[in-house]
Subunit: 336 residues, 2 copies
């Protein structure tokens, strides 16, 4: 029987577990918020499930649990954040206020974050921007897990990107958040555990040959979605993260990694644009018309709709946490 | 025997053909330049091959051959261009100067173009930005040809995007330029003509069922590359074009179309970022190290490398033009 808890309890558990591990109040707040938002939207793989990893990276000495990110105003449209080997959620939250301010005053702004430990979901990072009426992009890399199209060795991270578009009339923004890898790493791990094959195109074995055996892919390399086109997207994400921030590319992040089961020291960037200053006040209605057409087209769905449906449910009903994880989290929180 | 001509002759032929059709000097210059750059890089499908379509859209009255684009400085980081029903190359060239200026002074800038007829390649639009040291994105839609993932009816255009990263030491920028569609429309047309099947995933027949018969797909709808992830990219391109500019979405462009074989009235946007102001002066060397690793990884290649190899060749040797097309172009240019 999974445990049923409220979102408040989820936040409290996460905060206490992080505090117990020595994470500063500001960092634990930002991280607990991120974890709780993932749980609220039923993104289980980025919720409490990540907590033991965060704690591990404090214990290994990889991440600095008390880091105060350094937010620098680099130009009228540019924000630079040095995460100072801390966790990404605080670096993002601290920089985002200035980013949004610049996007409103200049019409567009860009933020690059380096030297921050991250393996969280991306959509919570840009949803606050879209809630202020901004169109937003974010890109983050990870340590190398993926070969470029045509390659056989890990070079790119799984390299997700997310894109958010504000909607009128009090609706939550449309956000997609997707890895450049054909298959999520967690999915490969679960398939390997359960002995299932994965779809062709997910990766190569250690021999450099295509395989559908997830255990072989985990020993070899993952591949980008959609062949060379997805590989271009993954390359773009590397350039927009390690490149633009001057931080780690995927291979540099891999070289830095302490193999502690926690996040890696990676880079991230954001672009925020005020659409109404370009498209005029008709922007939300125009976009809504496109979304309506999409939703009446066969079985097509808007990205993120399952997340938002979960959010509507968990706000009232709370969430469930798988038994073993719940025990682990309670232990980390000193509740046993 | 295809005709062998110099790039200068290609440019002269294109300019004369457009001038004969009543295209103004400024527009014909920008369009001939675009066509010649495509030919120089062996992008045959976007070179002289497009000339009869441009002329057709003048004859049908769809496009205004003498349009003077209206470039407006909307905010410190924003440029808006109304193409005034003219051709896109001049609208882009006119707006790009201000865009680059803003990117340099603000660190990042964004430009949206609406009401411009476009079916050209994208990489020539951002290469001049990257040659000035800017990282650049561009997005353009087309009239509806593609269903969203899960859908059965055309909603999105083929919706290409391009991304450019400057390189140091006098190297041409790395640029990828790729449609959101699984298969290029021209490829489907050629496969249909030759009676070849296309790869699974390219599209649906008019019955809404997946097919590998290109003739059926041309009567039905194309599909995005990489399933729902490519579909998200296509949606992002619609939002960044018709959405951000207040111009046409793909379905609006389709409703406007005069079925003259020429380009459609579409929208485009650009983002330009000064990477050195964020990453510091080490940016080019850092990026070059990533590229070197990529190039030593199996058979992996840098996007655009075939284009640049062609460019090195055609600068000295000129280009070849298929016989029938050459005759058509000469006739349009009044050379017969």
């Amino acid at each position: 029987m999974p445990a049923a808890i409220s979102l408040e309890e989820c936040r409290a558990l996460a905060f206490e577990a992080l505090s117990n591990a020595g994470v500063s109040r500001a960092n634990a707040d930002a991280m607990a918020d991120h974890i709780t938002r993932a749980e609220a939207d039923a993104c289980k793989s980025h919720g409490l499930f990540r907590l033991p990893g965060y704690v591990a990276s404090v214990k290994s000495g990889a991440a600095d649990p008390g880091a105060e990110p350094d937010v620098v105003d680099m130009a009228p449209g540019l924000v630079s954040v040095d995460g100072r080997r801390g966790f990404a959620p605080l670096a993002i939250a601290r920089g985002r206020t200035l980013l949004a301010e610049k996007a409103r005053s200049q019409g567009v702004a860009c933020m690059a974050i380096r030297n921050a430990f991250n393996f969280a979901a991306l959509w919570p990072d840009i949803e606050p921007l879209a809630e202020q009426g901004l169109v937003a992009f974010t890109f983050v890399n990870s340590r190398s897990f993926m070969a470029p199209a045509g390659g056989t060795e890990a070079l790119f991270g799984t390299n997700p990107m997310a894109f958010a578009c504000p909607r009128g009339a009090g609706r939550a923004p449309m956000i997609f958040d997707q890895a450049s890898a054909a298959t999520a790493r967690g999915e490969l791990q679960i398939a390997a555990r359960d002995g299932h094959a994965v779809a062709p195109g997910a990766g190569l074995g250690p021999d450099g040959k295509p395989t559908t055996d997830p255990a072989e892919i985990l020993k070899g390399v993952q591949l980008p979605f959609g062949g060379y086109k997805g590989s271009s997207i993954a390359l773009m994400v590397e350039l927009m993260t390690g490149g633009l921030s001057g931080g780690n590319f995927g291979h540099e992040s891999a070289a830095d990694y302490k193999h502690d089961g926690g996040p890696s020291n990676v880079a991230q960037s954001f672009i925020a644009i005020d659409p109404v200053r370009l498209a005029g006040p008709g922007f939300p209605a125009h976009v809504e018309e496109l979304f309506e057409r999409l939703l009446s087209n066969g079985e097509a769905r808007l990205p993120g709709d399952r997340r938002l449906a979960a959010r509507a449910r968990t706000g009232e009903e709370g969430i469930t946490v798988e038994d073993t994880l719940y025990a682990t989290v309670r232990e980390l929180a000193g509740r046993t």
